[in-house]
């Protein structure tokens, strides 16, 4: 889920820069100096984890883990996503430089939403496995939303992109399930080992 340069209409990627600029400014303003290393290391870990390829039939998929970033970093998931995409675009030469703003919206906003789902779900219910269930939900919903946002961005370019959007949606169905299982399992593990890492969970 990464829109390359040259696909989108200028209005869309310019809007992406504006939205990302505003959210980044706000979240960075709220970041304390001593939080920076932890945010960076978690960003690094999520980035590395997203490089793992999971075999799927004849091909393989790689993880996006936007939901995990949200669950771990709360609103700081947004700068985290931005940095991951920046490194991917520039230093690992994947491109997507003019689209970095809109790409951050596409992954970062779902990260924020899945953080919301996780926090509300976990703090307002009282059953045994709620962290795993809402963690998984956060993981899955993030991908669904990211696909929806990518589709909206592409369809601004005209309805001839419908075919591309359909292809994209179908390709991401297995990713939704895989991410849900993995994020659920990561959250379950962290809850046992280091519960303070999960953002916004009240006991």
């Amino acid at each position: 889920m990464h829109i390359a340069d040259g696909i989108l209409a200028p209005e869309v990627w310019i809007a992406g820069f504006v939205i990302t600029g505003i959210i980044l400014a706000y979240t960075l303003y709220r970041t304390k100096a001593e939080e920076i290393p932890k945010i960076s290391l978690v960003t690094s870990a999520v980035f590395v984890a997203s490089l793992i390829h999971i075999p799927l039939g004849p091909t393989s998929v790689h993880l996006i883990l936007a939901g995990l970033a949200g669950v771990l970093l709360a609103e700081k998931a947004y700068p985290s996503v931005f940095i991951a995409l920046l490194l991917q675009a520039f230093l690992f030469q994947h491109g997507g430089i003019t689209t970095i703003g809109i790409n951050t919206v596409i992954i970062g906003v779902p990260a924020l939403v899945s953080y919301g789902i996780f926090v509300v779900g976990v703090n307002h219910t009282r059953f045994e496995q709620r962290l795993v269930i809402f963690g998984g939900l956060a993981g899955g919903v993030a991908i669904v939303l990211a696909v929806v946002l990518t589709s909206i961005a592409l369809l601004f370019g005209g309805e001839e992109f419908l075919g591309v959007v359909a292809l994209l949606a179908v390709a991401h169905v297995p990713v939704i399930v895989i991410e849900a299982v993995i994020v659920g399992s990561v959250v379950g593990f962290l809850n046992k080992v280091k519960p303070e890492m999960l953002a916004g969970v009240r006991e």
Binding site: H2, A4, G6, I7, P10, L28, T31, A33, E34, I36, P37, K38, I39, S40, L41, V42, T43, S44, A45, F47, V48, A49, L51, I52, H53, I54, P55, L68, L72, S80, I83, A84, L86, L87, A89, F90, L91, F92, Q93, H94, G95, G96, I97, T98, E160, F161, L162, G163, V164, L168, I178, V181, G184, S185, V186, F189, L190, V193, K194, M197
Partner: protein, 260 residues
């Protein structure tokens, strides 16, 4: 997962390697945006050739460049396959119920030329400088300091954590739980990722303490100060001039030769 090397080609010698990092970053960025804003395939082709020429000038090994291009190829693939069939227009040929149109093909071509040109330009822009220089350039260009610090730390630790997760995955595999796409396989993978996160989180705290105790105050120190000389200005000005010229050429050709 492949292995990355830091600053692999930052120590070669070329006009791009000696180019001041700030001037290089900004001028090539202007060229990238200029190319993305073009729509004329003739001018875009010139832009692509220019990008290739700049890569050659930068002396970055072509094999390395080609290897990295597979990523952008992957990202534009869907568009290139689908668009010629989904855009309506003059039919060139048809496969079953699908018609391959000239307009769709042209649009797909425009998109891929833009995407490849931008990615090619990243090599003379960034592969020709050390990572610390890039960070220092961002700092001098007044990118918010918190963001710069996060970029620095994140990038640095990607390499460390990549080694760590590869070790963990190998040990999982050697115990007979290879990467399998089953619920159990994914749960195991989740646990491995969880362990990586716990280690990174704790490490983050320790690194910060260690850095502060060595006098870290959030700025990057390099041994050599940046100094822009007249050569840097000349290089930057010519790149920006080309970026402007591409648009002038597109405008003139649309008047005299007509739009395609």
């Amino acid at each position: 997962m492949s292995h990355f090397d830091i600053d692999e080609y930052a120590y070669l010698e070329s006009p791009f390697h000696s180019f001041d990092p700030r001037a290089k970053f900004v001028s090539v960025l202007v060229l990238m945006f200029s190319i993305v804003l073009l729509n004329d395939i003739r001018i875009l082709t010139a832009g692509l050739l220019l990008a290739v020429a700049l890569v050659l000038i930068s002396r970055i090994p072509l094999l390395f460049v080609m290897g990295r291009l597979k990523w952008v190829a992957l990202f534009v693939l869907a568009v290139v396959i689908v668009l010629p069939f989904s855009v309506s227009g003059t039919a060139l040929f048809s496969v079953g119920a699908l018609t391959f149109t000239k307009e769709g093909f042209l649009q797909a071509l425009v998109i891929s030329v833009k995407a490849f040109s931008v990615v090619l330009l990243i090599f003379p822009m960034l592969a020709t400088m050390k990572f610390v220089s890039f960070i220092k350039a961002l700092e001098k260009l007044h990118v918010p300091n918190r963001l710069v610090q996060m970029i620095t730390l994140t990038y640095r630790y990607i390499f460390v954590l990549l080694n760590e997760i590869q070790r963990t995955l190998r040990s999982i595999e050697s115990r007979g739980y290879g990467k399998r796409t089953s619920i159990l396989g994914l749960k195991n993978l989740g646990t491995a990722i969880g362990m990586l996160l716990v280690r990174s989180y704790e490490r983050g705290g320790r690194i910060f303490d260690a850095m502060v105790s060595r006098g870290y105050n959030g700025t990057m120190e390099t041994l050599r100060e940046f100094r822009i000389n007249s050569k840097d200005w000349a290089k930057a000005a010519s790149i920006v001039a080309v970026a402007v010229l591409l648009h002038v050429a597109a405008f003139t050709s649309s008047i005299y030769l007509g739009a395609i």
